[in-house]
Symmetry: C2
Subunit: 139 residues, 2 copies
DNA sequence: CTGAAAAGTAACTTCACGTGTTACATTTGT
DNA sequence: ACAAATGTAACACGTGAAGTTACTTTTCAG
């Protein structure tokens, strides 16, 4: 969904877009968009101005933004289950294994991000334009 | 947590273990273990017998089971957000982009699984035994 | 300088989901 | 036949994301 928003921003290249417009475009609420934009600002992917006639825009060209950056900006942590705290004092091995698993998971996570980094925002848009689905909708 | 259960099964190599025992070992409920075992059975990772004196065991040696298989067996689908159905009919590009994103995500997912596949269950257990944490707890 | 348009933000509701729990049917070995 | 186990259904609970409302703050334009 973050990708959807950034795609719209890429379309309006350089222009400032209000969160209300984005919200309408993604069919959701302006506040949610703003919460999302906050994360993207922290990641230096967008710039947002306040006040009337302002809005947000990409802080770099779409060709210089890859999906791994977006992923990192939005998904704060690992996609793995952190169980509802089973202290599990009984088994001494339990904690050790969690430590080892964490290592393995971060490695896997990095592999995932390396793959995502192969695709830039601009590349995604190109792929969409070239897709059969898009061609069909155009006519 | 699936890993935790399988680790216990690997310890009791070949022996049948009841879900009650596993539940106690992971500090949870037998039913949850059984639900987990159902998924692992479907993935042909464990064999479970019914009736008295029965239980579950690994269907292969721990050295022949890698974490990617466990991941696939347990996490049925992608770790990516499937929004609460925003039909989003307004934007014709929306659907196209979801299709393209799906391609990219499955690619990233495969990269993740390739990395997980590098570690076998037996390898994980070895790593835990060698870890500083485990050595500390032993004394 | 005033007003409107925007973001920032807090508090609340809603909803989906994983986890847990109880209860019961079913299977199977002794 | 009985006891021990799994399979399974139905429900309660807690958590976290998404959504909603309302208010404050900033900034441009006249």
């Amino acid at each position: 969904m973050a990708v959807h928003v950034l795609t719209v921003l890429a379309y309006k290249d350089g222009d400032r877009v209000t969160s209300a417009f984005l919200a309408d475009s993604v069919n959701t609420n302006p506040v949610i968009i703003r919460r999302l934009l906050l994360a993207l600002q922290r990641a230096k992917l967008v710039e947002t101005g306040k006040g009337a006639g302002s809005g947000s825009r990409l802080s770099r060209s779409a060709a210089r933004i890859n999906l791994a950056e977006i992923y990192r900006a939005v998904e704060d942590c690992e996609p793995f289950a952190k169980p509802t705290r089973k202290p599990n004092a009984a088994c001494p091995v339990g904690q050790c294994m969690r430590d080892e698993l964490e290592k393995i998971f971060t490695s896997a996570q990095q592999a995932l991000e390396r793959d995502l980094a192969k695709t830039t925002l601009a590349g995604l848009i190109e792929a969409v334009k070239a897709s059969a689905c898009y061609q069909r909708a155009k006519k």
